[in-house]
């Protein structure tokens, strides 16, 4: 009897043990094993030092293939002293690399960007990654032939972000990328970000992201535009006295013409205008500013005009947008009628003459001079864009409000009617502050004092 009980107890203990194993221990063990597997990182994990992060992409017309892509990659070695430039040739002369300081520039001829990535990966130990690319530069030559194939070839990839900046460079994009290096900064991305941020303080170029450019490329309401850049070969610098007589206002310069020497070899100045995917023209400094004012993208910028009293002297004001522009577009007898009203204010920052514009009687003269200068620039820029069939101002976005449906809007075909648009402009300009000087007294010469 006792033995049978003992046997039953042993059996029940064994059953309980087996049950415990099946219900608790084995699942916990399995869960632990699965958890261990997940500790090995993601399925497709790659360490940061497996990647070569591209900062800038340049696209030119290809020689050995359809396009010539240029990529700028940091070397991750840190800044190196001294010059250590070297060039390496790839197979069939289609791939060229240049190392300058702390970044390397690789150029490859290929049909698409990703074909190029694979080709470059055959000679680089790290895999190219565009996740941190900040700028795409297209050469002017290619832009004039059409950018849709390039844009279509790069936009689909997940690594390409719509927040990248879109730039057209005069000359070769590959050369521009090679020169697009920091002067005052140690970090390449920092200089690129800072460069594009300059638009906010100057309004001298149209800072457009790739996403906005793509939107405009497909738009039924406007035409694309983007920042224009160039390498400055210092040809604009005047050294002889004769040249000084040919006074040119700062707002009249186009990309690559600024009379600068020293500093970075590149400059961002003006706007590239497109009709569809083809570049058809460019805007200069002040033309870009008035365009940005209409688009409500202008923040502030120093505008210089001739002194209304003395033609050989100049006045500079830091112009700001007082409130958003008023744009009204209507369709009258099938033709667009657009009314633009800008509200600007300014602080006087430079006055060469001793005319007392700070007084209530003379201040309107200066305000009127600025107002008429900007109105003239605006009218001229609108006419220029109309002649080029390029609604870079986005007037179509306002005109679309007159149409009830997309069909009626698309049937109207805004981009073909823009050139017929009757545009009237009006600028409200107020000089708010006069800087640190509230009154300009004349310079006293000995003769004047004697009188």
């Amino acid at each position: 009897m006792g033995t049978a009980d003992q046997k039953r107890r042993v059996q029940s203990r064994a059953c309980a043990g087996a049950l415990y194993l099946l219900t608790k221990a084995i699942p916990v063990l399995l869960a632990c094993c699965l958890a261990c597997a997940s500790l090995c990182a993601c399925y497709d994990a790659k360490e940061i030092d497996n990647w070569a992060y591209v900062y800038a992409i340049g696209v030119d017309k290809g020689v050995a293939d359809a396009f010539r892509f240029t990529v700028q990659i940091p070397t991750a070695k840190g800044s190196q002293s001294g010059s250590n430039d070297h060039t390496a040739s790839g197979s069939q002369n289609t791939s060229v690399g240049t190392q300058k300081e702390n970044f390397v520039v690789i150029t490859v001829d290929c049909p698409t960007l990703y074909a190029g990535v694979n080709m470059v990966n055959t000679s680089v130990s790290r895999t190219l990654n565009y996740m941190h690319a900040k700028i795409v530069v297209i050469s002017e030559e290619l832009a004039k032939e059409g950018v849709s194939t390039v844009i279509n070839s790069i936009r689909r990839a997940r690594e390409i972000r719509r927040t990248m900046h879109m730039v057209v460079a005069k000359g070769e994009a590959s050369k521009f990328i090679k020169e697009f290096s920091p002067m005052l900064e140690a970090s390449i991305p920092k200089v690129q970000e800072s460069m594009m941020d300059q638009e906010k303080g100057t309004g001298l170029f149209d800072e457009i992201t790739l996403g906005c450019f793509i939107n405009d490329l497909k738009s039924t309401k406007s035409q694309p535009s983007c920042a224009l850049a160039a390498l400055n070969h210092y040809t604009g610098e005047k050294t002889d006295a004769l040249a000084l007589k040919q006074v040119r206002e700062s707002g009249d310069y186009y990309a690559g013409e600024a009379p600068i020497s020293g500093g970075n070899a590149f400059e961002f100045l003006g706007t590239a205008l497109f009709n569809g995917d083809k570049m058809v023209g460019e805007l200069g400094a002040d033309e870009t500013r008035v365009m940005l004012m209409v688009k409500n993208d202008f923040q502030t910028g120093a505008i210089t005009i001739q002194d209304p009293t003395y033609e050989d002297l100049f006045v500079t004001a830091m112009v700001m947008v007082h409130r958003s522009p008023e744009i009204k577009a209507s369709i009258v007898d099938g033709k667009p009628v657009i009314r633009v009203r800008l509200y600007l204010e300014a602080d006087l920052v430079s006055l060469q003459s001793d005319v007392n514009y700070e007084t209530e009687s003379l201040k309107p003269i200066l305000e009127e001079a600025f107002r008429s200068y900007l109105t003239e620039k605006l009218d001229h820029t609108i006419s220029k864009c109309q002649a080029l069939d390029c609604d870079a101002f986005g007037f179509g976005t306002k005109a679309a409000r007159n149409f009830p449906t997309i069909q009626s809007w698309e049937d109207y075909n805004w981009n073909t009617h823009f050139k017929e648009a009757q545009v009237t402009t009006d600028i409200e300009f107020t000089l708010r502050r006069m800087g640190t000087v509230m009154r300009t007294n004349p310079v006293k010469t000995v003769e004047e004092q004697d009188e």
Partner: protein, 369 residues
């Protein structure tokens, strides 16, 4: 009889809200804008109103048969054979809806995030979570859904607020889209976007009577309508209609373009977190409904033996689809019409049949007898 436990009104509401609103994360905004253009945001409201009208029939049916779920009601109204057939169709539909949702999620996930991970690994991982949720039961799913619902709403509101500087009012003009008639028609047919409200009919037994179903159902539809319409309006304000139509996941693209200076940008990983949680909860709800409908159709009292086989079917369905085009252009388009018939028309037909045949449930039936 399956023991589903008890869930509250807010849990039931969020079950539906999460299941419905989850679709905005994927291709739906682009598909809607392709169909109706700039009027997508108010088409979502037309669809919502249509769904509310259809849900009235579901509510009246559930009110007529208190303490019964739709599957049991079909047996009473249509007889055992037809009732079984419709119940089986419900189970099959939930399997397909769950499979399509998973495949769309995985395809979009592969496009934007896990490009190298095999589809089967992604599908297997999500299904493992869904199976675990189904094993734990409706109460667990509902409680997690409530939590996920709050996370989703907070995430979407934050996303819209951060994207607000990029809003351009001009983008929603011409305001009529591809025509008001087309908007109305699409609104009526796309009311299937809200068909997940039928989940309340499947788990009606877990709710405490018709008043709770009424509160949960109508509030869920109103909230979902606001979410879908608000998100569509948000993406339309950022992307013009001609660009929006091209995007695979407009909401993900929206998260990618948010920038505040040089420091505060690349918000997509945060968005991804919300996206994955919500989709996992949403597909768990649909999977549970498939399991529940199947067990109710076959009068099984335990759901656990059915979970793994149905998961295998869903997995097979997910990996069998050829490409994303088949999923978006064929399967999702097919799911536009069939849920209207199955989830809206069938309960309405059951209600009419019940009225004609004078069938009632609960105390009303006892009173009649």
């Amino acid at each position: 009889m399956i023991k589903e436990g008890k869930i509250g009104v807010s849990e039931a509401m969020f079950l539906v809200v999460v299941a419905i609103s989850n679709r905005v994360f994927f291709t739906a905004p682009a598909v809607v804008v392709k169909a109706v253009g700039t009027s997508g945001w108010y088409m979502a409201l037309v669809a919502d109103l249509t769904a509310i009208v259809f849900f009235c029939f579901v509510y009246l049916l559930l009110k007529r048969f208190p303490d019964m779920n739709l599957i049991d009601i079909f047996s009473v109204c249509f007889g055992k054979v037809l009732g079984f057939l419709f119940s089986f169709l419900y189970a099959g539909s939930f399997v397909i809806v769950c499979g399509v949702l998973l495949r769309e999620f995985i395809d979009v996930l592969k496009v934007y995030v896990f490009d190298s991970t095999p589809l089967s690994v992604l599908a297997g991982s999500v299904l493992a979570v869904i199976m675990a949720a189904a094993f734990l039961g409706l109460e667990t799913i509902a409680r997690v859904a409530r939590m996920a619902g709050f996370i989703m709403l907070a995430g979407l509101i934050a996303l819209m607020c951060m994207a607000a500087p990029q809003f351009k009012l001009d983008n929603i003009f011409p305001v009529g889209g591809y025509g008001f008639g087309k908007t109305l028609f699409e609104g009526l047919t796309r009311s299937s976007a809200y068909s997940e409200v039928i989940v309340l009919g499947i788990v009606a037994g877990a709710l405490q009577g018709a008043p709770h179903i009424k509160k949960a159902g109508f509030s869920a539809l109103v909230l979902s309508g606001i979410v879908l319409s608000g998100i569509l309006l948000g993406v339309e304000l950022v992307f013009p209609y001609y660009s929006l139509q091209e995007l695979t996941s407009p909401l993900y693209e929206l998260a990618r373009i948010i920038t505040f200076g040089t420091f505060f940008q690349r918000m997509d990983p945060i968005f991804l977190f919300i996206w994955i949680i919500t989709t996992t909860v949403s597909s768990s709800i649909l999977f549970y409904c498939a399991v529940s409908s199947y067990c109710k159709a076959f009068k099984l009292s335990d759901t656990r033996p059915v979970i793994i086989p149905i998961a295998v079917i869903v997995f097979t369905f997910v990996i069998q689809q050829r490409d994303i085009i088949v999923v978006v252009d064929k399967l999702i388009e097919a799911l536009r019409i069939s849920p209207v018939l199955l989830f809206y028309i069938l309960p309405a037909a059951a209600l009419i049949t019940a009225v004609i045949r004078k069938k009632k449930g609960g105390e009303q039936a006892i009173g009649n007898s």
